[in-house]
Symmetry: C2
Subunit: 553 residues, 2 copies
């Protein structure tokens, strides 16, 4: 019997998003979560990033299950891509399973997928593993952490969590079960750490409810609230407060509508006796009895909120007296887009309440004291921070040391790191290559830096194409040169520039006509690039990509 268990992060360490871990004991592998990430700003045109599963492909047959912690994109979003390569049963809580089903249905994978339900308190045998989900609070209902026991010991995976003493659905984290698992003895804790920089305790969702109450009490007209499509708990809160103030609520936006419908169906959303109504019905209500919940809290261009702010949404026109609440904090990179929406809404006469001026959102992740509480309940021998950038991992290490975990019992992995835990020691055995895997259109593959570099070059100063037809026998110019540019020349800027450039190219090639024609025309490519590059830079201060096309005729 092997005396060690291995844990390999395939995504989600050293970065935020695309969370996925493999737990390997003997010849069995259990996968924890399977999320996606949004590309960084410099990955121009890339749609999504997903975990690199290269490590798993050689041992596909040994994979016994996916165990999912909760239904956010960064924990389930890569399933439609990875399930094609790795088919295994998927365990999830009822709401999470519902969200996965929506996703797999869109990808035409629902028929073949093997979905299983587990819930807080269950004890599930999967191969040699025993998996025990325990309820945690997060910004989506039905989130669990997992205790995974194999003969070497128990590994506790927190998933995303915070300890909210007053959650919207009234279901606190299962402190008792977590403590009991801790008392039984835990080998390794894999802990969420992304909010470690914030000291103290993350405010309860209740605080947002208090803000809503204040705003609802004062608002004279319609109230429009933008939030994340997955924030079912926030939707419930809005419905609750609306019911108190005699307002009706409608949700608008495809993803929000389908999530809300699914959550209702599964009993995770209480529509409060007719408070939640369809949009067409809400429009019959007076403004001061109406609440709209819309998508677009991150400034997404096609979202309902953005279209409302741009006066481009037929069903909802802003009028003075409207109150708009943006119930989210802009994710880094989205600030400008969100700010633009706020400005436009103000310009249309709305009153706008947003994170900079009121508590309209709280994080779903544990702050320092909650992370310490988890450590103290679980009392693990070894600790590994997951779900965070390097800075979060390092900060978490310090935090774990502050509650008495010895420094050499804390591992800071990178994606692909094969961590081995035995009763005697914890160590990183080796690091399996782990690449950035993109989804761009329908292609999935390793991120290709040539493509991204070219897109970046093109985005800066555009491009100039030079086409010239050359006699394959004597090198004389038969056609062109023609010059076409895109994204390079501003209207009205130096009209003669391209004409002069043509002249220049003509002369530079013609000059060579006296010499015997070389066997191939790569010299002409080089020459056109150099001469034209220099000329255009001198005249415009810009360096477009220059693409010479020399056709031999």
């Amino acid at each position: 019997m092997p005396d060690s268990v291995r844990v390999i992060p395939l995504g989600g360490v050293g970065e935020v998003g695309k969370n996925m871990l493999a737990v390997e004991y003997g010849n069995e592998i259990l996968l924890l979560d399977c999320g996606l990430a949004f590309p960084e700003e410099d990955m121009l045109g890339v749609d999504l990033l997903i975990p690199d599963i290269q490590y798993l492909l050689k041992s596909r047959k040994r994979i016994v299950a996916y165990c999912i912690s909760h239904g956010h994109e960064d924990h389930i979003g890569a399933l439609p891509y990875i399930l094609r390569d790795i088919d295994a049963p998927i365990y999830a809580t009822p709401l999470t399973r519902g969200l996965i089903e929506v996703k797999l249905k869109e990808a035409n994978l629902l028929q073949s997928a093997r979905l299983r339900t587990y819930k807080d308190g269950d004890v599930v045998k999967i191969g040699k593993f025993t998996v025990e989900p325990f309820h945690v609070t997060h910004s989506i209902p039905d989130a669990v952490g997992l205790a995974i026991t194999c003969p070497v010991g128990t590994i506790v995976y927190t998933g995303d969590f915070k300890f909210d003493p007053t959650p919207v659905d009234g279901k606190q984290a299962n402190y008792g079960l977590i403590a009991q698992i801790g008392r039984r003895g835990v080998l390794t804790l894999l802990s969420d750490c992304v909010h470690v920089e914030t000291k103290g305790h993350t405010p309860s969702e209740q605080v947002v409810g208090d803000t809503f109450r204040r705003v609802f009490a004062e608002a004279k007209g319609r109230i429009i609230i933008a939030t994340f499509a997955s924030l079912i708990a926030r939707v419930q809160q809005i419905i609750n407060v609306a019911a108190e103030y005699g307002r009706k609520v409608a949700v608008v936006g495809r993803s929000l509508e389908s999530n809300v419908a699914m959550a209702r169906e599964l009993g995770y959303l209480d529509p409060k006796d007719g408070t939640l109504v369809p949009l067409h019905q809400l429009r019959k209500e007076d403004a001061d009895r109406s609440v709209l919940i819309v998508t677009g809290s991150q400034g997404e261009p096609t979202s309902v909120l953005n279209r409302i702010a741009n006066q481009d949404y037929r069903h909802v026109k802003i009028v003075p007296g409207d109150t708009v609440i943006i119930s989210a904090t802009p994710i880094p990179g989205n600030e400008t887009a969100v700010s633009r929406i706020i400005n436009n809404l103000f310009a249309l006469g709305a009153d706008v309440i947003y994170s900079a001026i009121d508590t309209v959102h709280v994080s779903g992740h544990a702050s320092s004291e909650e992370l310490r509480l988890m450590l103290n309940l679980v009392r693990p021998k070894y600790v590994v921070p997951v779900h965070g950038e390097m800075r979060h991992l390092v900060m978490y290490k310090r935090l774990a040391m502050s509650v008495g975990i010895p420094e050499d019992h804390i591992l800071i992995p990178e994606n692909g790191a094969i961590m081995e835990f035995s009763k005697e020691q914890a160590r990183i055995v080796e690091v399996y290559p782990n690449n950035m895997v993109y989804v761009d259109g329908i292609s999935v593959g390793d991120v290709d830096h040539v493509v991204l570099r070219d897109r970046k070059l093109l985005s800066r100063d555009g491009m100039v194409i030079v086409v010239v037809g050359i006699d394959r026998n004597d090198g004389s110019i038969l056609a062109g040169p023609d010059i076409i540019s895109r994204g390079f020349l501003y209207a009205g800027e130096d009209d003669n520039l391209l004409e002069e450039a043509k002249e220049l190219v003509s002369n530079s090639i013609r000059h060579q006509e006296e010499s015997p024609p070389p066997p191939e025309w790569s010299w002409a490519h080089r020459k056109i690039k150099d001469i034209l590059g220099e000329f255009l830079y001198k005249r415009t201060g810009r360096r477009p990509m220059i693409l010479p096309v020399v056709m031999e005729i």
Copy 2:
């Protein structure tokens, strides 16, 4: 004698940056500041934005002076561009003048520029205007606000300010003079408003000094501090604390070095008896006696800090034990770049102190209580918020109403708005067209949406060029089709794709050969675009820009 005075913002309202205002009385115009802005994320490849001075060009001769409030880029940065069109004397305080001189020298404009010095407490006659600079605290020394008096009344322009009771250089705002100007009676206050969303009082620069003291007391090795090149006060603070702890300080980075040299020369920086030393001398000191001040607090790619974090800076290599302080808050849009640097530094073994975990930076702008204090000292009849996005302008309006300014005495302008103030009323007479003016390479002009749209398209899915040579007589294909792509196909992706595309293009054109050749080949362009666009989308899910080049031979 005219009974009204006009104020026209040419930049800096409804946006942050490129601050510039015109004050017009009778046939004289006074310009307040002349700043630049950095382009928004979707203005791909644009270097800078500057105020639109179209309004001024017809009345160039009437412009009597530029009056500058302080030396930050968003207040002086457009001078090298606009001075070429509008030549007028430039008034500035000594440090600000020094910074302008550095800038004009680089642009070869220093010889012809007419620079004048004014300072706190001066009373300067400029045409029919009397200009009185009053000292304010900000994140750069020698900042002033301006009281501009003409026969209609006094306009007070705050510039950028906060009320720091304990500034690093010990020079508080000139409360007395501001109050005195207020008691004389003020027609209009033009107030900074960008930090209005923050309640209370912006912390004093002193607080940052306290953080430095705490970090210096604990640091065992070298300390590296990144900050803005213009934050001379921060540099002074670091030198002060270093002197207390027996460390030497060197500055690295071109802009920082030249600003520090200039500030020293003008007496705005006290090097504390040999605490400030050149880099080569610092390198002889032990690590625990060294402090480096570097550029790159915003994650700028070519900055010293970024190069250090990428192990790409020969003179400074990070070793475990180094402490790095990033003494700035990331400006929206820069979070990812800054975060990447922090992660890299942690990975190299440094301890990193940054804004999310400690008070290493404070804003240079007034929070709500300071804005109220300014209103109460100046006691203006009319109020106009400037230097802010729409949301800041609206918030400021509410704040002004809270201290008793009637709603109809507060104007919210847009760039180009011609505001007219008389003893009886304040109103926006008309809005002169005001465009986004870009600087891209050496070109200056109105932002051209075609160019930006093309750059955006190119940045998403790259481009595909199809070149084909056609016989001008019978339409038969003489050369090609050749297909070249950039930023479109990932390595290893569908090798046959372009070959198939060539075939497709060939067939689609050849098909037409039977029909008599049309007089021109635009049909071929259209056809290639459509057929190829559809084919490539079906195969890749992406939509590159397709550029057909049909050469008649």
